[in-house]
Symmetry: C2
Subunit: 220 residues, 2 copies
C-alpha cells in the first residue's frame, strides 16, 4: 500500500518507509465500496479524507428533480474532497458514488491536520492539491458556459485531444454518462454528434471520436 501511496498527490515526494512511519502515528481505515454505492452525499459534513486505492468513483450533483450533472471521475490515487475540508462551510459539494467495486483509504480530518503539521511536504502537497481542484472547477465552469451543445462537444474534443496531439478520442463512457457531464439529454447528444459527423468535422462511432477537421472544431 505504501508504494501505491507514494504515487498519490498527497504523499508524493515521500519515501514509502516515511509514509509508513507517518501513517503508523495516526488512525485510518481502508474501506471497500461496491459499484453504485455512494460513500458521501452532497450537503454532508466533511470530516474525512478519502484516497482511492483501487477502482473509480464519480462526483456528481443531483438536483431536486433528479437531474444529474457529473463533475468528475476519480481514479486510483486521487484524493476526494480535499478542497472542502478546510473551508468554512465544510460540506460535500457533490455526491460521491463508486463506478465499480473500489477501495478507499479513509483518514479523519484531525489526523490529516496532524500529518500536515508534522510534515511540510504533505502540507505543500495539500496546498497544490487544493489549488489544482480550484483550477479544475474553474475550467468546469468554463466548459459549462459554452452555450450550444456543439460548442460544448467541440471544446471537450479539443481538450481531450490535447490540442490536436491526438486525432482519436476514446470516450470510455456511455452516451448517457457523457450527456450528464455536459448537462444535456442523451438524444440531444446523439443528434449533435450526428450533425457534426454530417458536417465533416468528426467521425463518430460507439465510444470513439475521430477528428477530421480540427480547424472547424475550433470555430464552433
Amino acid at each position: 500500500m505504501y508504494e501505491l501511496l507514494k504515487q498519490t498527490p498527497i504523499f508524493k515526494g515521500l519515501e514509502a518507509a516515511e509514509i509508513e512511519r507517518l501513517l503508523s502515528g495516526i488512525s485510518f481505515q481502508a474501506r471497500k465500496v461496491d459499484a453504485d454505492v455512494s460513500i458521501a452525499f452532497r450537503g454532508e459534513k466533511i470530516d474525512q479524507l478519502f484516497i482511492i486505492l483501487s477502482g473509480s468513483l464519480r462526483g456528481e450533483m443531483i438536483d431536486s428533480q433528479g437531474k444529474v450533472l457529473k463533475i468528475e471521475d476519480n481514479f486510483q490515487g486521487k484524493a476526494l474532497a480535499v478542497a472542502f475540508m478546510f473551508s468554512k462551510k465544510n460540506e460535500f459539494p457533490v455526491t460521491v458514488t463508486a463506478n465499480e467495486k473500489s477501495e478507499v483509504l479513509v483518514i479523519h480530518k484531525s489526523q490529516l491536520l496532524f500529518l500536515m503539521q508534522r510534515n511540510e511536504r504533505i502540507l505543500t502537497n495539500m496546498l497544490e492539491l487544493i489549488s489544482n481542484q480550484a483550477q479544475f472547477l474553474t475550467e468546469r465552469i468554463w466548459a459549462l458556459t459554452f452555450k450550444t451543445i456543439k460548442s460544448k462537444i467541440a471544446n471537450f474534443i479539443i481538450q481531450k485531444s490535447k490540442n490536436h496531439e491526438l486525432a482519436v478520442i476514446e470516450l470510455n463512457q456511455t452516451q448517457q454518462q457523457l450527456a450528464d457531464y455536459f448537462g444535456i439529454t442523451r438524444p440531444s447528444l446523439a443528434r449533435t454528434l450526428s450533425e457534426m459527423e454530417a458536417e465533416g468535422s468528426i467521425q463518430y462511432e460507439r465510444g470513439v471520436i475521430r477528428i477530421l477537421n480540427f480547424e472547424k472544431l475550433k470555430t464552433e
Copy 2:
C-alpha cells in the same frame, strides 16, 4: 493600511504591528486602478497576489464570441487569484476588471511564499482561503446547472434572502450585469421577472425584488 489588512482573510488573526513587521521584510506595492481597467487577463500566468484595499473588481470569463459570464464581484479585503497561484497550471482563470476606481495591494508569489514559511497563521489562512474559493466555485457550478431561467432566479433569490431572513433583496446592479451573472440575455431576464411577478411569487421593480411567496420560489 495595516489596520485594514488585519481585517482581510489572509492576515486575520494577526496584530497590525505584526503585519507591519512581516510586510517590512518583503517587497510589495500599492496600485491604483481606474474604472473598467483590467489588471489581469484570463490565461495570463499568475505570479502576483492582489488584495483589494478599496473599491471593487469583478472576475469574469469572456468567450471568443464576446459573451460574458461574471463569476464574482470582489470587494475590499478580498484577495484575488489565491486559489490559482499554487496550482500546476498557474494561470488566471478569469479576467479581472475594476468596477470603479480602486486600489490594490500587489505581492509577488515568491514574497507570499516567504511569508507563509515564516508565519503559520498566514499559512493556515491561505489554506482556508483556497478551500473557500473551491467551495464557492462549486456553488457557482451548482447555480449554473439550474436549467430554466426561473429556477436560476429563484435559487439566486433564496440564497440572497439567506433562506428567508430577508424579504427584500437589493440588486445593486443593472439587469445586464445580473443577466451576465446568470449567463443569459437581458430581455430573457426581464421577461422571466415579469412572469414571476405575474405568478405572484415576487414583486419586482428597478433594483429591488420583494419576496411574496417563498414556498412557491422553492418549488421552481
